[in-house]
Symmetry: C2
Subunit: 402 residues, 2 copies
């Protein structure tokens, strides 16, 4: 396990981010399971933080670009990439101390993760629809980035929706995830401004068969039938990664992320009888077995469930074989001023084409799901997540801005 | 390690909370260090969650009492105590399934912690000043619960301050802490209402010499010279626990908690040179050594520091030997609408008398601390934390309501 250096780099002892990153590059299965404190490989064909076994904690942030200068934005993406390569390897974002000749320069790292292990940190970047209206990028906007429709019951707040750029930082130590977001925000000073930010304290999905299925705040196991790392290239190419025929070329090997902040009215849910809760989900609460079956991973028999059961409505066979790689997190954002906890699920789902995957599934759910009585979608985002960074000379979005 | 049962209790298989709790009672040093997933003893002379080695995660919640019925409040405190004894032992708050004859009753446990270990969960209860204005408790209000003064620079928001009751839930798994608060709120339905709630993602203090000193979001080690479990009975009796001569009798063995939400203007801090940051704190950033010394735990020489250095202003020798047991947590509550993260320190400090300890220290800091340029106190609470629950027949506040 690589440890963050625990001393201040003195003036002059500059480490070259690229060289350090190369030295750390490892062969082996991309983004595979490791210890909870270990480093996850940053470089690869796909960005880490998608099929990477879901880490325990999330810090997600959306930014607005506040400059008109395309060169400044590109330079920031280069700087972000270099800092992310360092931080995911368990290093600092930059120097803690002053650089020779610049004693008044602020530190290049904010310091709160000193001494902490890499903690499986991944930093995943996405581009929002509004970015393509700027910087002459209009003709590069993917068709898949067409606006999501308004779904019945949506209560989306614009101020915590959309954005030009997003960062999904996941780690097994929340201090490491917060440190990553905060340092990227610091590097982006004058170029981007934080639009909204969401902490997730506990994962609600597994993205690897090596992980136990966690529970959402309704008390149910979530994402039992999620797309997973072990599903293999054929299935992941079909459902997850943008293929050459899909276009545009700069997105090949990338994926599309839908983010939805789903507030749960947990106080009402908590006054619902168990049998009713289980009928609404279509699974048992304790074991998580599909209705009429015994075990969590038993194949669901949809004919044994009410037509409005959540599992039935969301099942691929009800939605043209649409599958998602879900990577959501439980959140509690204080209380709502009405005596209730402001809690729920920050839903994150990756897919090859949101209009063929998330949209039909969410249409089914929004129309008929009995769960809607207990949830409110309050934030929505759609993000083009470009392919992985190929090596130290490459950077996030290099093909988009080429 | 005790594991939460992972199956639904069928109708009729009622477990008696008290009996289960007794069976789990263990001898040995109270609230001592154990594995991160283990259970912490609930019963004792003092409440757990004070000298207990600080767990990694926090969910703090303040409640308003919404009933005039004293008997209902006392019954809720009894029910809370029984549920807390179960949950801290790694059990559910109650039955997940229906009770025989009441198939429509909602579950007594919300389910999201099923299968998770105890995770060192502690649940600590405090009574706010406003509670003593109700239920005929005025003559039982401790002198130490006199209102805190307004400090220079305070920007306290009333809606996230005060409250009749508080719960501090700490655990090494945030899902376990959130589950505890949520189930106590559920049990309190109709009696109390959530006033505000605060998640803390990372501890900023050690309360045991067995723990490494963590870092706050300014990147500095915090609480190096904190009161700790190992300081021994004499020192803890002097600074932490209410003594028989202090009165009132119902508080003997208890302590007073001051809660302050301290927003940090981290974006401004991040543009301050390292040398200036270190001068402001009076410690080095990397090692955490007092100015002019080499190692974190070296005795500070205050004469080597500027008069306004944070460490010097807060030092016991500057404040009539006032010491605190600090148990604060880093937080990020999204962003502030101005492009900045809403981040900082949720300060929690236990003491024998806040007017002789927190107040003089905070007066020194509020008057002269250069750190004030970078922080805002936005929430304030003062809590009488009663002594521990003696056994299954006892409950939180039994002596207050006797």
């Amino acid at each position: 396990m690589v440890s963050r250096r625990n001393a201040i780099l003195a003036a002059g002892s500059v480490t070259v981010a690229g060289a350090a990153a190369v030295a750390l590059s490892r062969s082996g299965p991309e983004h595979a399971m490791a210890g909870p404190g270990d480093a996850v490989e940053f470089y690869g064909a796909h960005q880490a933080g998608i099929t990477t076994p879901a880490q325990d904690r999330l810090h997600f942030v959306a930014f607005d670009v506040i400059t008109d200068d395309r060169a400044k934005l590109v330079q920031m993406l280069r700087d972000w990439t270099a800092a992310a390569a360092r931080m995911t390897a368990g290093r600092d974002a930059g120097l803690l101390g002053a650089v020779e000749g610049q004693p008044e320069a602020p530190p290049d790292d904010t310091g709160e993760a000193l001494g902490l292990p890499p903690s499986a940190l991944t930093i995943t970047v996405g581009f929002g629809p509004s970015l393509f209206a700027k910087f002459g990028l209009a003709d590069r906007k993917p068709k898949a980035m067409a606006d999501l429709p308004r779904f019945p019951g949506d209560t989306i707040k614009p101020e915590i929706s959309g954005g030009d750029l997003c960062i999904q930082a996941c780690a097994n130590d929340p201090q490491v995830a917060v440190h990553a977001v905060r340092n990227l925000a610091r590097i982006g000073f004058g170029v981007v401004s934080v639009r909204y930010s969401q902490l997730g304290f506990g994962r609600t999905s597994s993205t690897s068969t090596a992980q136990a299925t966690p529970r959402n705040l309704m008390g149910f196991k979530d994402g039992t039938r999620n797309l997973k790392l072990e599903d293999g290239a054929e299935l992941l190419d079909k459902h997850l990664w943008v293929q050459p025929d899909d276009g545009p070329q700069w997105m090949v090997g990338g994926s599309y992320l839908v983010s939805r902040r789903i507030r749960m009215i947990i106080e009402t849910w908590d006054r619902t009888p168990l049998a009713e809760q289980e009928t609404i989900f279509g699974r048992t609460k304790g074991e998580g077995a599909p209705m009429g079956k015994a075990k969590e991973f038993d194949e669901p028999d949809l004919s044994l469930m009410p037509e409005e059961a959540h599992v039935r409505l969301a099942h691929p066979s009800s939605n043209g074989d649409a599958r998602l790689l879900r990577r959501g997190y439980n959140f509690v954002d204080g209380s709502d001023g009405l005596g209730r906890l402001d809690a729920g699920l920050f839903f994150l789902a990756y897919q090859r084409d949101p209009h063929k995957q998330f949209v039909p599934v969410q249409r089914s759910l929004a129309r008929a799901d009995v769960l809607n009585e207990y949830i409110r979608h309050t934030s929505s985002g759609l993000w083009a997540v470009p392919p992985g960074v190929k090596g130290p000379e490459d950077f996030w979005g290099s093909a988009l801005f080429a």
